[in-house]
Amino acid sequence: MADLSIDFCGVKSPNPFWLASAPPSNTAYQVNKAFEYGWGGAVWKTIGTPVLNVSSRYGGLELGGQKLLAINNIELISDRPLDVNLREIAEVKRLWPDRAMVVSAMFESDPKVWADAVARIEDTGADAIELNYGCPHGMSERGMGSAVGQVPEYCTMITEWVTSAASIPVIVKLTPNITDIKAPARAAIDGYANALSLINTINSVVGVDLDSFQLRPNVGGKGGHGGYAGPAVKPIALSMLSEVMQLPETQRFQVPISGMGGIQTWRDAAEFLLLGASSLQVCTAVMHYGFRLIEELTDGLSNWLDDKGAASIQEVIGAAAPRYSPFNQLDLSYKVVARIDEAKCINCNLCFVACDEGAHQCIDLTANGAKIDPAAYSGVAKTQPVVREDDCVGCNLCSLVCPVDGCITMIEVPPERESVTWGEITQERPEVTLEWDKMERYREEKGIEIH
């Protein structure tokens, strides 16, 4: 069995899975229970300035009969008194010395307030502090949460207040509600953050009731934007993780990143690890299914590592990160084409309509081996989609809509010309990238035909 334990900027835990700062880590009752189930750590529900919550707080995204593919929430930070939270954090940490206990905090922008808060948090025996620069609702209007995360200068300033006061590691949690995630990441590192975590929730309106016209969640007839999280946000989180991994500052200072946003299965977890996250946090999936998920997460991850022959989780962390490249470094000569395995094809023709109307018209419908016009066809013979491989641009769409495993495969074909990237063309033949007639000449020269 592979070793799942991690050391995240000095914070150790027996496995990489931590409860994200959110309702599941709200109380000692919950965190104790989570640790009994085997969670490696917890980021306590954000503590800080006094708040009052509203009633009716969450909305859910349901798709195709699957409930809660994402959750949208307008809950604030912890609404329990600071003293109670700190006392419970200390109690739980005492009981579970081998688990990671991280305290998420959000206070008003005053260095004295922060210095005092840091001292009280360190008194609990917690292993690290996480700065919540992400909450997109309620707190941001008060100059906290994403209001900080969206302004790099604030981010550096507050981070520096905290890191200069703290003797335990400081993790800065980034908001995704920003055009370029690299800016706040760099700002946090400039403020001497020991680690980063991402993503917090994304601004969202999850839906409108078609009968009452009320927004979801509804609070007395009104609603607003909330924070979006859960399986549906994973691709956004993975992209932001990759962006931050690329940052020269992250690489120079070896800043570890705690990844979250849509982790529900061990497969999601493995993807975050491969792209460079070295600790993982989970919220929505736990809110949906409970702490018992940890067994599936660790078992699946461990079996996968065994299958890959990896002795420890360290061997896969960041293993796919170097593949993340800007578009202008991709090889323009690389080519794949779609191939349909007719023995597996169930003749749903979804690939045909997708390619014909949504892509590049490279799939023909045939019957008895001859091409047919579907609008005119009234025969009884089964229709069979066939790819014209010469015309196929290799966009993947047909294979993505195909409902049968292994029926449409994208086959790599030998490149028809020398390897070249857009970056190289821009450098060597800039005129080609600027004028259409030059581009056309370039195509002729290289034998690039657009069908």
């Binding site: 299965t265 061990w266 497969r267 409970g290 078992d299 699946g300 079996n303």
Partner: protein, 454 residues
């Protein structure tokens, strides 16, 4: 003998429920709600953590799914195929209320096929603890007990009187539900855990009870039930009269050597089957599928009182098997030593008997003959009283008397499976659970003993 071609036989004797494709399994697994404190777990006699194993299938963690299953049930490949899931886990599925329950049995089989194809031992047995346990009978109860003990570090020897291990999974469950290969692979898993299986050894004949009691620290009796009893009616020894268990066993063994061997089995044109339990249903199905023109099940009571499950009744009617209810066989008639018919009396429901069911009462003078050239007896199995007497065990109506830990009146002897099932359905899954419970009991007891001896 059947005149059916090999192709037809292959169709009729292959597994009724096909395996799932990977995608089918994933889609079905994703339909599972992953209920908390799920009713399917409680409905399974071995308490398999169904939602967890299904969730693992949904994430393609098939090894993890199989381990979750095997932790609760070492006979899970058999159970996945033979359990009456409609009455157990699937019957309890919360989705059954307004649409289809999850296909738990087939999903379990999907995970089991994966682990058996992979041929990787899913457990590492504990280091040897120096204690020896004898298990009598290599059916599901014995194998489960042996496996559980081996996992805990015991040296276990199974003594089995038949040439092949596996009990009724090997000899009794029709090939359309469980090919013999599955039963034998399951035995191989138990052997891989370090259990020694000695076949062709009958306890009470080749080895004495006393010998076992001296040579081993504990004994687990899992001998199942005996053969089909005599009807005690005239003509029973005519050629063409067989009993269901050996009739089924022959098809199992034929399948092992290749389905073409099924063509060598004797089967009548007009077959009567006496009894209406699961075994009768199975024997009738086989007779029909081997090519009998007409198969009739003869039962003393009415349709509503058949011990067979509803789904079995529906199934067998679709097979084209006919029923004669309220009929009691009183003699087999024949010519030249061969069966030509079964003589029956009409029966009327009488006053309620001790179990509350109406006692069947034959109507004098109502005799009639059902013409047939084969009679298959499926009227239950004999009790193993003589064997229990060897061990000096107290009995209850022919079954071994045990306490909640499945311990018999001899503290060194535990018992489980069909041989203790005085009440309730005798199923593979309950036998498997018995093996588990007894292993726990033996371990609790010997563990304490070992401590005391230190």
């Amino acid at each position: 003998m059947t005149r059916l071609s090999l192709e037809v036989l292959e169709e009729k004797f292959s597994e009724l429920k096909p395996p799932m494709t990977a995608r089918e399994a994933r889609v079905e697994a994703n339909r599972c709600l992953y209920c908390f404190d799920a009713p399917c777990i409680r409905a399974c006699p071995t308490h398999i953590d169904v939602p967890t194993f299904i969730r693992k299938i949904s994430t393609d963690n098939l090894t993890g799914a199989a381990v979750t299953i095997l932790e609760a049930n070492l006979m899970a490949a058999t159970c996945a195929r033979v359990c009456p899931v409609e009455e157990l886990c699937e019957g309890a599925c919360v989705l059954g209320g307004d649409h289809k329950p999850i296909e738990i049995g087939r999903l379990q089989r999907h995970a089991m096929d994966h682990i058996y194809d992979k041929q990787k031992l899913p457990f590492t047995p504990a280091p040897s603890n120096g204690l020896r346990v004898a298990v009598v009978g290599a059916g599901p109860a014995g194998l489960s007990c042996a496996g559980e003990l081996a996992k805990r570090g015991y040296a276990v020897t199974i003594l089995e009187k038949n040439p092949l291990p596996g009990g009724l999974s090997t000899y009794g469950i029709v090939v359309m539900r469980e090919p013999i290969r599955v039963a034998l692979e399951e035995v191989a898993l138990i052997e891989a855990l370090g259990v020694e299986v000695r076949t062709g050894v009958e306890v009470g004949r080749d080895v004495s009870a006393n010998q076992l009691l001296t040579d081993f620290d504990a004994v687990f009796l899992s001998v199942g039930m005996g053969s089909v009893p005599h009807l005690g009616i005239p003509g029973e020894d005519l050629e063409g009269v067989t009993e269901a268990l050996s009739f089924i066993a022959e098809t199992k063994l034929a399948e092992k050597d290749g389905l073409e061997h099924l063509r060598e089995l004797p089967v009548g044109r007009f077959v009567t089957v006496i009894g209406a339990g699961n075994t009768a249903i199975d024997a009738a199905t086989i007779a029909k599928r081997l090519g009998a023109e007409r198969v009739t099940i003869i039962y003393r009571r009415g349709e509503g009182e058949m011990p067979a499950y509803d789904f079995e009744y529906t199934f067998i009617k679709n097979e084209g098997v006919e029923f004669r209810f309220f009929s009691q066989p009183v003699g087999v008639v024949g010519e030249n030593g061969r069966v030509t018919g079964l003589e029956c009396l009409r029966v009327e429901p009488g006053p309620p008997g001790p179990d509350g069911r109406a006692l069947p009462q034959a109507v004098p003078g109502s005799a009639f003959i059902i013409p047939c050239d084969q009679v298959i007896k499926a009227i239950g199995q004999e009790k193993r009283v003589d064997l229990f007497a060897h061990f000096g065990l107290e009995q209850e109506r022919g079954y071994v008397k045990v306490d909640a830990d499945l311990r018999t009146t001899n503290p060194k002897v535990f018992a489980g499976g069909d041989c203790v099932r005085a009440t309730g359905d005798a199923m593979t899954v309950t036998a498997t659970q018995d093996g588990k419970v007894a292993a726990r009991g033996i371990h609790a007891w010997l563990g304490d003993n070992a401590l005391a001896a230190d």
